[in-house]
Symmetry: C2
Subunit: 283 residues, 2 copies
């Protein structure tokens, strides 16, 4: 099991970074924090999510950490690592929480000082809210935790990240390559968000609010979106997401053509296929 | 309040027809049934949803009914009315449960014998299941009930259908024209189903089942679909649905273009718009 005498550092006390700090502290670990905004750092201190924290002059926290969790967006993580990565001490293991891995994991691993290891992971527990003030509402119990190791990673780091995910209480821990992860996330998450956003942007039907049922509400719930994070996730996974949009659009065009032609048999065939495939997701 | 000495007839004991029969019987009304399949008629009799019922030679049930509820698909309703409509007695009021109204309400009203009135309505309480065997699972409590009167309808019929919806326990009863109803349903229901079906048909990603989170499951839940009913609903509302698909597709193309161009500002603008509009649906 994880060694509780080690020092944990969370860089970026947002929704997920904050939740990691909260859960680790609750489990008896020593957790420090670094955050850009004073207000949210103070919130984490007030709530006891972290033992201590800083917004600047935090070199001692970085060089004293045994384990570092980056709760930053991909661009900010790269910038942080370029500036402060050299301060990490030999033996230190780091991870992230980012929803995209291509273009991030390789460069960060390249920047790791000797003896420092970055093992990427993705807690699939995002919500429509953001910031440490909502961290306590995040629920890891039904969520997937994906580890994306590369050939640079050691067994020691993979064991550590797996045990961390267990401590955090994820339902299911699995391993994918960086490429598999980004293709998967392009389909199961980003394409869904692209669709929900497009549906809300298509026209202003707010006068129809009162007539909506569960199907519409379920479909568009995720159209409430953190624009900073999601534009970053979309752009970092652009090729996969465009490929998924095009495949989806092809199927929609096929349905539209069947409809325009009054081709009932073709419609029924699509409905049977979608029913059969969707049933597999309920098993 | 509704007169309990009157005779109710449900024609088509499917999911909704069966639920109407069940609720009306429970409320103390006398309900008979007509159904094509012997098996489902027997089920409704065994469960006490109806007092009596027939699969054929049902002329006496039709001519004896004070109120008739058609739980049939649009095409079947038109055919039924052509064949048996003349048997309805003067003073009889009829309604339906159909999810589309254009092309249905006008012709049925034209066929009504003297003194017989058809007032169309739509209980927005469909589920992914079908048949009378699932009728008891249908929940009207959170659902909308839409009445679509025409200039042929009388105040007496509108009062009756409103009280019927109250007895059945709908959350909210409202009135739209036939055209407004079909435009609304094309957007809040049919477009959502077209999207969910297309997403499942786009490619066979059942290997990704284990990675899906709430957003994917919510978005695709309605891809499990009764192909007979939904192909009929889509085709009967073809023009509205095609217009909605095209509007949606335009927004998706806009998102794709912003993504392909790496235009972060344009993406963020769409995300802010979708967030703002979707928030209105939570109020």
């Amino acid at each position: 099991m994880l060694d509780k005498s080690k020092r944990y550092l969370v860089v970026g006390l947002g929704l997920l970074g904050g939740k990691y700090a909260l859960e680790l502290t609750k489990a008896g670990f020593t957790v420090d924090g670094i955050n850009r905004s004073e207000k949210h750092l103070q919130y984490a201190l007030d709530k006891g999510y972290i033992r201590s924290g800083k917004t600047h002059d935090f070199e001692d926290l970085v060089s004293g950490a045994d384990y570092v969790i980056f709760g930053l967006y991909p661009t900010a993580l790269l910038t942080w690592f370029e500036t402060y990565g050299r301060l990490l001490k030999p033996g230190c293991i780091c991870t992230d929480v980012s929803g995209v891995k291509t273009g991030l994991v390789g460069p960060v691993q390249e920047m790791c000082p000797a003896g420092v290891e970055f093992i990427a992971s993705h807690p699939m527990a995002g919500r429509e809210t953001s910031s440490v003030e909502h961290a306590a509402e995040v629920n890891f119990a039904p969520a997937n935790f994906i580890i994306t190791p590369t050939e640079k990673n050691t067994a020691r780091a993979i064991v550590w990240i797996t045990e961390l995910a267990e401590v955090l209480g994820f339902r299911r821990i699995s391993t994918l390559t960086v490429e598999e992860h980004d293709r998967m996330i392009g389909y199961v998450s980003q394409l869904c968000h692209a669709i929900a956003v497009s549906l809300m942007c298509a026209n202003d039907n707010t006068d129809l609010c009162e007539y909506t049922g569960d199907s519409f509400r379920d479909l568009t719930r995720i159209a409430k979106i953190n624009e900073t994070m999601w534009s970053e996730l979309f752009l970092w996974n652009r090729d996969n997401l465009i490929a998924e949009i095009d495949q989806f659009d092809g199927a929609l065009a096929q349905l539209r053509a069947a409809l325009a032609a009054g081709d009932r048999a073709a419609l029924e065939e699509m409905f049977r296929l979608s029913t059969r495939r969707r049933a597999a997701f309920d098993e």
